[in-house]
Amino acid sequence: MPGTEDAGLPEAPGAVPLSLCVNGKPWVLQIDPRTSLLDALREHLHLTGTKKGCDHGQCGACTVLVNGRRINSCLSLAVMHEGDEISTIEGLGSPEALHPMQQAFIDHDGFQCGYCTPGQILSALAVIEEIKAGIPSHVTADLNAPPPLSASEIRERMSGNLCRCAAYPNIIAAIQDVSGIPS
């Protein structure tokens, strides 16, 4: 795969080669096998829109999409993602051309400090897809019917993304706006 070089970090002893595709752009890295996918994005590729909030899979700030599914990138070693397609907040939209979900977060004030926000936005997009795909959740009443695209389903499925500013009501309003759920 033709790739862009690493960000110029000194090559750690024991580093192994890794090819990733991030936001459609191929990368070839030499990476310490102890490096999390989160730290690979932040420290090696300087894609710091993916946030480190706990480094233990407890807060959701590091949420990215891997081959279309959301994961906590801090709980995954970078070397486990050979050949994977990674989508981060930087690939979703730029300040000049925002994705509708990003714009909805601004319109509904779905953040204050903004640190959990990229993870919230990526989770929100994945949640809508998970519901559309018929994946049930803890609050799905009827497991034999498609889960409804409702506020309670969204709240339940977004609960892995903590927001200490507690912008929760506004985040839900933003997601409802984008997904067409009446508030």
Binding site: G8, L9, P10, A12, P13, D32, R34, T35, D39, E43, H46, T48, G49, T50, K51, K52, G53, C54, D55, H56, Q58, C59, T88, I89, E90, L92, G93, S94, P95, E96, L98, Q102, Q103, F105, I106, D107, D109, F111, Q112, C113, G114, Y115, C116, T117, P118, V139, E156, M158, S159, G160, N161, L162, R164, C165, A166, A167, Y168, P169, N170, S183
Partner: protein, 705 residues
């Protein structure tokens, strides 16, 4: 323009991941990475230390311990949170997790792995780790006494004398404590997650013994603070020492668990609340005795017992505090200091009194309103507590409240309503802002105030645009660098008020300067700037501290609120769910309706959290936090919070400042916690006086199924 619900001007950068928080800055080049090793005992000293295995690890550049750390200022026992905070200068360990070694390596992975290979020998001494009725020293502090509370208790038609406990709380903002220190040509730059940059720069310079002119602190984007990013912590000092020694930038990000041991906490407390009232519900006595944890290391004291001093009228009053000096680490401000534990407790006690009297708890609060500060005997400015209560009650449908506890069911849910009052002091400190008019048509606002999610970038632009009569889009706001005009940062709910007053005064000064040469009849501000000041024009405005403002002597200045909550408690499992919530607040002139509502909602959710979720638990053997991470230290999630609402009354408090604005950052939390506790009682008939209200405390008392 002031007050308009403009969307945040920093929004596009934040939602697109382009806003660079402290550990994301790279203008200094690639940094080295640090990792702190914390003490594995609660109290004692280091007796042996072997760093040889760590130093031999690949990539390791430096290992600092108390044996080789550079000279720093003397440790100040009982230091204030922005005093000097020397690191690794002693073998003494004062609390679990305190730094004992610091590793710097080429990468984070290398530094972390090497830190794990440092061998430390400890000598453990017995510590005091448990707050209880026996842990407090006998002396009373911060006592305020009027009349004779004991006599009022003896004569009261109804009285309450109850003991409540509140746990340790941590701020735990989503962004970890982080710093990149860069020593270059004799100048130290800190990119650090901080709420008060100038004060932090002072403390760092004094700690590491460099001239104050040799340091710049930059906190352009801060991922939340809630009090935790006010104090000077190890990440600033250790990264600064290392960059000066290595001549390379050093990045240090605390782990989430280190956020529990290296940053401080809200102390646990035990309160005895005494209330006495006439048969008609007139309070005759108010008493609040608090026993709070304090630290031998730090001087911060939580004002738990003080919250009711201006809240309700009563002739006989006694509020005071005893100190339990424990080795559980440093106390620091956590959002709603004093108010969260204090109001949660006091508003619960008032609810107990209302039930004893057979008076609606809303009505009891209204009957004990006061226009005069009952202890300072001066007018309360902007006292609109009763309006908050009445407006909230009407909108919420308080008249539908179940009159008898545990009397309403919705399937398996026991339904209850609760109300709580909020009060929060408004403070003003010195602050400066500079405003510049560029001939090319741009307004530049500069101050060292931080935007920690408070909306400062947006509000500052609105205030300047309003004062100068230009569109907000023409205003560029530069914040949070210690080489900008000095304020007092974000904290104490004073940031927006301080900053806005200074910006407005700078703009007025500019208009006067311009008016002297251009008159007042001009149509195009910038045409006049180009004509008379071809290189631009600037002015500095300042805000005086409250000690220098007579109105703060003539009035007691507070903000007020009332929260109404409906909960459901599952009769089978004891699980409590918030079903509805409304807060109504009186907080002066609102500067931005959108960001203010968000901040009030956030505060209310902190109230939910205090009542139902948050508690840090101490290991009584060694003072370690047994649940020190986001898996076990419970904070509200999306699923815990329904669509709730916050309303700010249209208000203006000229006693606070000429803009009429007061602080809102901490107002929403305390009374909300009380409202939740009272709603749980109304739902279940179970009064939990040991917070948070969890399933195990409710289950034994729930009605039979």
């Amino acid at each position: 323009m002031i007050g308009e619900g403009l969307s945040r001007t920093d929004g596009p950068l934040k939602v697109s991941g382009r806003a660079r928080y402290s550990a994301e800055r790279r203008e200094m080049g690639e940094p080295l990475h640090g990792f702190i090793l914390g003490a594995a005992i609660g109290k004692g000293r280091v007796v042996s230390i072997d760093t040889s295995r760590a130093e031999a690890m690949p990539g390791v550049q430096l290992v600092l311990t108390h044996l080789n750390a550079p000279p720093q200022a003397e440790v100040i026992p009982k230091s204030d949170i922005l005093d000097v905070q020397p690191q690794l200068t002693t073998d003494v360990i004062a609390h679990y997790g305190a730094p004992v070694a610091f590793v710097v390596a080429d990468t984070f992975e290398q530094a972390r792995a090497a830190a794990a290979l440092i061998d430390i020998g400890y000598e453990v001494v017995a510590g005091e780790f448990v707050l209880d009725e026996n842990s407090a020293a006998p002396e009373w502090h911060d006592e305020s006494r009027l009349g004779d509370l004991d006599a009022a208790m003896a004569a009261g038609a109804a009285t309450i004398d109850a003991v409540y406990a509140t746990p340790y709380h941590f701020s735990q903002p989503m962004e970890l404590h982080a710093c990149i220190a860069d020593w270059r040509n004799g100048h130290l730059t800190l990119h650090i997650a901080a709420q008060m940059v100038a004060q932090l720069a002072d403390a760092v310079a004094d700690t590491i013994l460099i001239d104050r002119s040799c340091i710049t602190v930059d906190s352009s984007f801060v991922g939340g603070g809630f009090g935790a990013k006010i104090a000077l912590h190890a990440e600033a000092i250790l990264s600064a020492l290392a960059t000066r020694q290595l001549n390379r930038p050093v990045q240090l990000v605390l782990t989430r668990r280190q956020g529990f041991t290296i940053a401080g906490h809200r102390p646990a407390s035990i309160s005895r609340v005494r209330l006495a009232a006439t048969r008609e519900g007139q309070l005759t006595g108010i008493g609040h005795d608090a026993n709070i944890q304090v630290s031998p290391e730090g001087n911060w004291k939580e004002g738990v017992a003080t919250v009711a001093r201006a809240l309700y009228a009563a002739p006989n009053r006694l509020t005071r505090t005893r100190h339990s000096e424990l080795d559980t680490g440093v106390c620091e401000p956590v959002r709603g200091p004093g108010e969260v534990p204090g109001l949660m407790v006091f508003e619960s006690a008032l609810d107990e009194l209302a039930e004893k009297l057979g008076i609606d708890p809303l009505e009891l609060r209204i009957r004990n309103d006061t226009a005069i500060d009952p202890e300072k005997h001066r007018p309360l400015s902007g006292r609109r507590l009763v309006e908050c209560l009445r407006e909230g009650a009407a909108r919420f449908g308080w008249d539908q409240r179940p009159k008898t506890p545990a009397s309403r069911r919705d399937g398996r849910w026991l339904i209850g309503y609760g109300v709580g009052s909020s009060i929060r002091g408004h403070y003003q400190t010195t602050a400066e802002a500079r405003v510049r008019l560029d001939p090319d048509g741009q307004v530049i606002v500069q101050t060292d105030m931080t935007d920690i999610g408070t909306g400062t970038y947006t509000i500052a632009a609105q205030v300047a645009a309003a004062a100068l009569g230009v569109p907000v889009g023409q205003v560029r706001v530069e914040l949070a660098r210690s080489n900008l005009p000095r304020g007092n940062g974000a904290g104490g709910s004073w940031g927006s008020g301080n900053t806005s007053v200074a910006i407005d005064r700078a703009c007025q000064a500019l208009r006067e300067k311009l008016g002297r040469v251009a008159g007042t009849g001009y149509n195009d501000l910038f045409a006049e700037v180009r004509r008379h000041f071809p290189t631009g024009i600037e002015a500095v405005g300042s805000t005086r501290g409250m000690d220098d403002e007579p109105s703060y002597e003539n009035f007691s200045i507070f903000t007020y609120g009332a929260t109404f909550t409906e909960v459901g408690v599952d009769i089978m499992t004891g699980e409590t769910r918030i079903r509805r919530m409304l807060g109504v607040f009186s907080a002066g002139r609102i500067l931005n309706a959108k960001t203010a509502r968000s901040q009030l909602l956030g505060g209310m959710i902190w109230g939910i959290s205090a009542a139902l979720h948050e508690a840090a638990h101490v290991d009584p053997r060694n003072g370690a936090w047994v649940n020190g991470d986001f898996a076990e230290y419970l904070v509200p999630t999306h699923a815990d919070v329904p669509q709730i609402e916050a309303i700010a009354l249209d208000d203006f408090d000229g006693a606070a400042n000429h803009l009429g604005s007061k602080g809102i950052g901490e107002l929403g939390s305390g009374g909300t916690a009380g409202s939740v506790a009272n709603a749980v009682y109304n739902a279940t008939g179970v009064r939990v006086r040991d917070f948070p209200i969890t399933i195990s405390k409710l289950l034994p008392g729930l009605p039979k199924i």
